[in-house]
């Protein structure tokens, strides 16, 4: 019997082992022990990265191309050929979709999960903001089929038309505004991660309304249909948006020597601060600098903008060339820069008549192409200033999403289009004042400047004057390119010219799909990786079919327009 006891004991042990291993808990070991999952952290721990990826991966990455399209900056290397309006892959889209948007999707779901709808609201606003930026560059976008934090990722996501995308963005904003009024358990800034508004719900709401005003104002071409341009609605939305610079939607950088605290546009080539963002920007554009020299379109430079020296650096070798006064500030005409980038030993540089010869300091009398050694070219210095180091481009500059000033210019435009010049002029003035104040321009200087503005008078307010000031106030914001397209480039901006050296087969001098005139760039290409892996769901991505093709809001009417992207 002794035998039997031992044997029974043995079997009982096995049985216990078997029962233990039958339990579901036994298999519950698939979560990581070293990393949190997308649903395992409370929303406050995700808020900062959601905001930072919206500005960092989203807007700043988009504006790397955008600043050239918006005529603020000329590019540093022609590998990107943006002054030829881009004939290469456009990678911003992928960063926005893979880094910025998924965090907003998580935040929306986490807000619901933790009974804290304020987080969902922030997720929705930032999501709408991101979708609007990418849609304004591409037109139809992947929207509904992108990651939503609820379903499995979709291998072949389908496009959402821009019209539906706009409806979706408005819906997100409307929901967000409702979410802010719901009972909320976890305060937005409970652990200090609301790096945008420090938990101020009112400011978040104003930001939401400002975004709404911006989106409504994009519809200026629509004369009928669901999205018919409605100036009153734009003005009403502006009324609920930012009411002072204190409400500006911005991300502040401290400029400390860690990547997270350095403003993305603070340096080129990562030279001064290790690891700083490579802005790929060389110089401010001639159009932009000239605007700052004659911002009120008075056709003289006697009323220079006090913001000019706060934004633009004087020529590196101003003294050498004998440049003084306003001449110290030079912008580079679009499309006239170096041709070969840094790779070739020799650089081909195209100068137009009037450009300063970097070697003599004298202006060229006629258009000329010079082949020169790039290192020599740069070591000798030239008449252009560095783009970095001032108000918008220092390591501790602020990053703006939407400002009070922009709202005022939106309001000015809507009033102008509505025929109310007085209201338009008032908003125009307030916009200028707000931007100057925000930049810290001396009060007396502002007052002096405002006298000049008053001299124009409301009768003489024009769309060009409004949009010129807006171009200055929204510097480097991707929104500026939207404006340029909406006001039909040189139809409104009389000083604007197409870049030189354009690829004529893509941008012929006539044949625009709406007015038959010069063809300007109207949209960007979808990211190559999206095309390669999802071609069945994306339209033809040729340069010739993408670049000159207007996005939906840039076509005259809402519903009767052939979808040229398909």
């Amino acid at each position: 019997m002794k035998n039997l006891n031992i044997i029974s004991g043995f079997l009982v042990l096995l049985l216990l082992g078997g029962l233990f291993s039958c339990s579901d808990d036994f298999f519950d070991v698939n979560e990581s022990e070293t990393k949190p999952s997308n649903m395992s952290l409370p929303p406050q721990q995700r808020l900062m990265a959601t905001i930072d990826n919206t500005t960092g991966f989203g807007q700043s990455r988009l504006s790397r191309e955008g600043t050239v399209l918006s005529y603020h900056i000329t590019e540093r290397t022609t590998y990107y050929s943006r002054w030829r309006w881009g004939t290469v892959s456009y990678a911003a889209e992928q960063y926005l979709y893979t880094n910025a948007l998924p965090n907003t999707a998580d935040l929306i779901v986490l807000g619901e999960k933790y009974n804290s709808p304020h987080y969902s609201a922030v997720g929705k606003i930032l999501r709408a903001y991101l979708f609007s930026m990418v849609s304004d560059q591409l037109g139809d976008i992947i929207m509904e089929d992108s990651y939503n934090a609820k379903d499995q990722l979709i291998l072949t996501p389908k496009l959402t038309s821009q019209k539906d995308a706009y409806a979706g963005m408005h819906k997100l904003i409307d929901e967000a505004l409702l979410d802010f009024d719901k009972p909320n358990e976890i305060d937005l800034n409970v652990i200090g991660t609301d790096v945008m508004f420090q938990g101020d719900i009112t400011k978040w709401k104003k930001f939401a309304w400002a975004l709404k005003a911006r989106l409504l104002n994009h519809m200026t071409a629509k004369t009928s249909g669901d999205f018919k341009y409605d100036p009153a609605a734009v003005i009403a939305a502006c009324g609920k948006a930012m009411s002072s610079n204190a409400d500006n939607a911005k991300r502040e950088f401290t400029g400390e020597e860690t990547q997270n605290n350095i403003y993305p546009w603070s340096d080129t080539e990562g030279g001064e601060v290790e690891g700083a963002f490579d802005s790929r920007a060389d110089n401010w554009s001639k159009f932009f600098v000239d605007n700052l020299k004659d911002p009120l379109l008075l056709n003289n430079e006697s009323v220079p903008d006090p913001r000019l020296p706060l934004i633009v650096q004087p020529a590196l070798d101003a003294e050498l060339y004998g440049l003084t006064g306003l001449d110290m500030y030079q912008g580079v005409p679009m499309g006239t820069y170096r041709e070969n980038g840094f790779n070739g030993v020799k650089e081909t540089v195209n100068f137009v008549a009037g450009d300063i010869n970097p070697f003599t300091g004298e202006p060229f009398e006629e258009d000329i192409t010079i082949v020169m050694d790039s290192t020599e070219y740069f070591s000798r210095g030239h008449q252009y200033g560095k783009p970095n180091g001032l108000f918008y481009t220092s390591p501790n500059s602020d990053w703006y999403l939407i400002t009070y000033a922009e709202c005022k210019f939106i309001e000015a435009e809507a009033n102008f289009r509505n025929g109310d010049k007085a209201a338009a002029f008032a908003a125009y003035k307030e916009g200028i004042n707000a931007d100057m104040t925000n930049m810290g321009v001396d009060a007396a200087e502002i007052a002096n400047y405002m006298t000049q503005v008053d001299n124009i008078g409301s009768a003489n307010i024009t769309l060009e004057r409004i949009m010129t000031q807006k171009h200055i106030a929204t510097v480097m914001n991707p929104e500026t390119w939207v404006d340029l397209r909406r006001v039909e480039y040189d139809n409104t901006f009389t000083r604007l010219k197409r870049p030189q050296n354009l690829n004529a087969s893509i941008f012929p001098t006539s044949g625009d799909e709406v007015d038959g005139k010069e063809v300007w760039i109207r949209a960007l290409k979808y990211d190559n990786r999206n095309i390669e892996r999802n071609s069945a769901n994306l339209p033809d991505n040729d340069d010739a079919s993408r670049f000159p093709t207007r996005v939906w809001w840039n076509t005259p009417d809402a519903d009767d327009v052939v979808d040229l992207t398909k």
């Binding site: 043995f10 096995l14 698939n30």
Partner: protein, 1036 residues
């Protein structure tokens, strides 16, 4: 299913247990090779009472003195023993002739008569394994098993080998079989580092400890193992102590190795570069050392010494191997103990591999029917490697940068610093390989313990219960150093990367086996089982970039701000419940049914259970016809014929930690990012993963001819792995770059034939046995999800990203992707206006890195005390990608690049765009633009175009020749040994191949690359070696 598992145990408990009351005769039945034989029939002559042996070949029987016991087993000569009162009778059965029938180890270590199997299993014994004297256990199988391919990562000591059975079926997962040692699954992983050669962990097992290896080819044979055995299983049985007088066996081998060869290099042109003006026209040579480190200079004046720096890097290397073991035991207890030490020097100085194995196996009997066994192996390996491939500091790649007129051995200044032969340190930007070997060691140390306890209980003569609990535990410390004085950018103050890893695999297996014979004609074997396993690993990575004090290569010697630190953990648990039933009729026809249900932690809870079955049959046609009255066998032709078929399904779970998306704390240099946790776009999880299934079908025939002197095993198989668990590259707009999902199918088809011939009758004094193993297989990618046209593993990018291994849709699983000229709609190569091809990344639909067919021919001859064996291995067809040659060409060293000129032109074959037609389509005209065959062409075009480096991988090799001599008994008696053998082996002595590189049998990235992997990619690894061994084996 949860209940079924538990129920099985309850049934066991309530089993009626009866106790024998009489004295028994008992013993063990083995074959002449000492392998125990289960299922041997023992009948008392003239009666119908009898029994059969159990799984371990043991039996017990009641009988009276004077009775005659008849031991019969298929394929063996029957043996009769008259009982004279002895209670223990161990019987050794002698085979009727070669391989008439064998007992083979099948899934879960269950020994079965091969006759009853519905699938192919190939068994290989100790002496066959040791022939060829390989120190990596996996390589011992090379050329010996039909359908098994083995490729090593090169000749570095401790380099990994990839083993694949019947090709592969997984697009991005593991294609290697499961390794089982004495019933316990062991880890065969390989570090995923292409920087240094890394061992595959199965190589830790000492080949000398192995009694036999059984290869279960694919799902049909391995269905009972489930999840991890979709690619087959390698079942290793180690040596056990034998009853009787204790025996000590000692062996020692001394080997000398050298590389098979090194690539041919040109000796015409020396140091320098061409100089071009701004229009790209050649101005002439720039002979100044300057920044020109390559061999694109002027013709070397006669009398100038030149150096083959690559060849000079390699030297002869000596390996010593010692092995001693003890085997002994009595009725109650058997033990086996062994110690073995291997000290291998690398063919590159300062590299080497040391391995110590200690093994202890013991079985002991408690009372009558309980056997307890323990089994423990301790392994210590220490590897010292050079950097390889295209990694910073790689020995081979660095050598290419030296012009043929420069002797790389002359590298040190008097103070020990490196000589700069270019303009500046910054220009040189690489380390001299000799300096690296002295100053930048890469070490790896592993301590491993594989141990198990097993119990075998036989309460009834037809019932056996066995339980096994074991663990495979190892800790690894891997360290890579670059010393002060490195010329590599960012490493001049020293560089350290190291990790410590602990890995633990625990497996518990319970088996209940019943066998019963009814009416003599019918038999039923039932096996029920339950298994649980857990794998846990933890790896801590530390490192940094600046040593503070000299000569201390510790992370503690790096300032806190310069240190890097991270940790990763892995956990996986699974459980399986399985059963097998085998019905037999008159030992002629068999039907086998299995079923298994698995639960895995890697699948979403609630959906983590899955079931799969198999069914197989085997019919001995010759016996069946005999039974029906027709004897088709004859001494002059057919002796035996068996037909078999099996259909099986095997499930596979996901990789661990894939059902959720994990956040990351990212530092990213493009844009300012947050300190907070953010979505990880590089790898999204998937909460909806489903298990993957492989469905296989196999038919086969076993036939013997001419009194069993010729034996033929033939198999045809087909398998389909569907809805694979795949790491897929998504369109970024989906929200991530890579996500795991189900999709993609691979079809696998092939034939195998194994022919054994005894050229001379067994009675002859001279014996010559030949064994041919032939295999032909094809793995085709049948379907891929979304718009994917290929699945690749980007760890296998070869030099300068010219190509990588890729599984290509509607093409080969072992295909290729790489840079090649773009083509127009007609397939013509497009030439740019400058006369050069426009290169782009594309798939190569026709490239197959697996051979069309392979054959190994093993010859074993014996005459008196001499034995000679040799293996001829042939691999016909298939492609190899020679990235080594591409790199040689780039640096102006390859013989191809010797054909250069600054004046002669040529015209590339292709078409050039010439305007558009009325419909807007591009018009192409034949290219006529001449280009120079100059440095620019070779560097920018020729060496970058992967088409130029795809070569036929066909080879025939004499893999080994071994001659051994057993000292005759007369001499042995004088010196007091029981046996002594001396042997000499030559390895890789001959190769016939058109391959322009060193050896087409190469997988430079080794076993660390999964999926379609690294097979057939020759990428600057240490060439394979050849060598001679002298050895002695002594038995006391």
């Amino acid at each position: 299913m949860k209940k079924i598992a538990c129920l099985a145990l309850i049934i066991l408990l309530s089993w009626q247990i009866s106790w024998a009351q009489e004295l028994l005769v008992k013993g063990t039945v083995t074959g002449s090779d000492n392998v125990t034989l289960p299922g041997v029939s023992i009948v008392e002559k003239g009666t119908s009472t009898g029994t059969i042996t159990d799984i371990d070949g043991k039996y017990e029987l009641k009988a009276e003195v004077g009775a005659t016991l008849v031991f019969t087993f298929v394929g063996m000569e029957p043996q009769e023993i008259v009982l004279t009162g002895q209670q223990v009778i161990d019987v050794v059965l002698i085979p009727q002739s070669i391989g008439v029938d064998e007992v083979v180890v099948t899934a879960l270590g269950i020994k079965k008569s091969k006759k009853s199997l519905g699938y192919a299993v190939q068994n290989i014994k100790s002496d066959e394994l040791l022939a060829g004297n390989q120190s990596n256990m996996v390589n011992t199988l090379q050329g010996k098993i039909a359908g098994v391919s083995i490729s090593s990562a090169g000749g570095s000591p401790g380099a990994s080998s990839i083993i694949m059975i019947r090709g592969g079926s997984s697009l991005s997962g593991n294609n290697q079989p499961l390794f089982i040692v004495d019933g316990l699954p062991i880890d065969n992983s390989t570090n995923s580092s292409s920087e240094v050669a890394s061992a595959n962990r199965a190589s830790d097992i000492n080949p000398e400890d192995i009694e036999s290896i059984s290869v279960l080819k694919g799902a049909t044979a391995a269905a009972l193992y489930g999840i991890q055995a979709a690619e087959g299983a390698i079942i290793i049985t180690t040596k056990k102590g034998k009853t009787g007088e204790g025996k000590i066996s000692f062996s020692s081998t001394l080997s000398v190795d050298e590389v098979i060869g090194t690539p041919d290099i040109q000796n015409t042109f020396g140091q320098g570069s061409y100089e071009y003006n701004s229009d790209g026209d050649i101005l002439g040579y720039d002979p100044s050392p300057g920044i020109h480190l390559q061999s694109w200079g002027d013709v070397i004046p006669e009398g100038t010494p030149t150096y083959d720096n690559i060849s000079n890097l390699f030297d002869k290397a000596v390996t010593q191997k010692y092995n001693v073991n003890y085997s002994g035991g009595n009725e109650q207890t058997n033990i086996f103990a062994s110690a073995s030490y291997l000290d291998q020097n690398g063919v590159i100085e300062n590299t080497g591999y040391e391995k110590l194995n200690l093994t202890f196996n013991a079985q002991s009997k408690f009372r009558k029917n309980l056997t307890i066994g323990v089994n423990a192996k301790y392994i210590n390996t220490q590897t010292k490697s050079n950097k390889q491939g295209t990694s910073s500091g790689g020995s081979f790649i660095s050598m290419l940068k030296y012009p043929v007129t420069y002797d790389a051995r002359d590298y040190a200044n008097e103070d020990g610093t490196q000589k700069i032969f270019m303009d500046s340190k910054e220009d040189q930007d690489f380390d001299n390989p000799y300096w690296s070997l002295d100053n930048s060691p890469n070490t790896d140390e592993v301590d491993r313990l594989i141990g198990q306890v097993n119990l075998n209980y036989k309460p009834l003569d037809f019932l056996t219960i066995s339980y096994r609990l074991g663990t495979d535990y190892y800790s690894q410390f891997n360290k890579k150093i670059t010393d002060f004085g490195s010329l590599i950018k960012g490493r001049s103050d020293g560089y350290l990367r190291q990790y410590e890893k602990t890995s633990r695999l625990v497996t518990s297996t319970l088996l209940v086996m019943m066998n019963k014979t009814f009416d003599e004609d019918y038999s039923l074997d039932v096996t029920l089982g339950h298994t649980v396993d857990e794998k846990k690993t933890r790896t801590t990575y530390t490192g940094g970039n600046k040593f503070q004090a000299p000569d201390i290569y510790s992370v503690s010697n790096i300032a806190a701000d310069d240190q890097t630190l991270s940790e990763s953990k892995y956990r996986r648990r699974s459980m399986g419940v399985f059963g097998e039933a085998k019905f037999g009729w008159k030992n002629i026809a068999f039907l086998n049914v299995t079923g298994r249900n698995d639960w895995s932690s890697t699948l979403p809870i609630g959906d983590h259970s899955f079931f799969y079955p198999s069914v197989g049959t085997s019919v001995v046609v010759s016996d069946l016809l005999n039974e029906l009255g027709t004897d088709i066998t004859s001494d002059k032709f057919l002796s035996y014929l068996k037909l078999r078929a099996t259909w099986a399904q095997v499930g596979k779970d996901a990789s661990a930690h894939m059902s959720e998306s994990y956040l990351t704390l990212r530092s990213w240099h493009y844009v300012p990012v947050s300190d907070g946790y953010t979505w990880n776009s590089d790898q999204a999880g998937n909460p909806n993963l489903k298990p993957e299934f492989t469905t296989s079908f196999e038919i086969g025939m076993d036939a013997r001819f001419l009194k069993n002197r010729v034996k033929l095993d033939f198999s045809y198989y087909h398998s389909l792995s569907e809805d694979q668990l795949l790491n897929v590259r998504l369109p970024p707009a989906a929200g991530a770059y890579i996500a795991q999902l189900n999709g993609g199918s691979v079809k696998n088809e092939g034939y195998e034939a194994l022919v054994n011939v005894s050229l001379l009758p067994r009675s002859s004094e001279f014996q010559w046995d030949m064994s041919f193993n032939f295999a032909k297989m094809e793995s085709t990618v049948y379907d891929l999800p979304g718009e994917l046209v290929e699945v690749n593993n980007d760890q296998s990018w070869t030099w300068n990203s010219t190509a990588l291994g890729a599984a290509v849709l509607d093409g080969n699983l072992f295909g290729l992707k790489g840079k090649r000229p773009k083509t127009n709609e007609n397939g013509d190569r497009i030439v740019n206006s400058d006369g050069n091809y426009s290169l782009g990344e594309d798939i190569f639909p026709d490239v197959d890195r697996m051979p069309d067919w392979t054959m190994g021919i093993i010859n074993s001859m014996s005459y008196k005390n001499f034995r000679l064996s040799f293996l001829v291995d042939m691999s016909i067809g298939g492609d190899v990608y020679n990235a080594t040659e591409a790199a040689l060409t780039y640096y102006g060293l390859s013989t191809t690049s010797e054909n250069r000129s600054m004046t002669e032109t040529m015209v590339l074959d292709g078409v050039m765009a010439n305007g558009v037609d009325a419909d807007g389509n591009t018009i192409y005209v034949k290219n006529t633009t001449p280009i120079l065959k100059d440095q620019k062409y070779y560097q920018d075009q020729y060496s970058q175009n992967a088409e130029n480096f795809i070569e036929d991988a066909t080879y025939v090799k004499l893999r080994y020749v071994t001659l051994s001599y057993n000292l005759p008994k007369t001499i042995l008696d004088k010196i007091g040994f029981d046996g002594m053998e001396v042997f000499a082996t030559g390895r890789n002595l001959l190769m016939i191949s058109d391959y322009s590189g060193v050896d087409p049998e190469i997988a430079s990235f080794g076993a660390s690359v999964s999926g379609s992997g690294a097979i057939g990619l020759d990428n600057l690894s240490t060439p394979n070696t050849k060598g001679f061994d002298l050895g002695v084996k002594i038995n006391f």
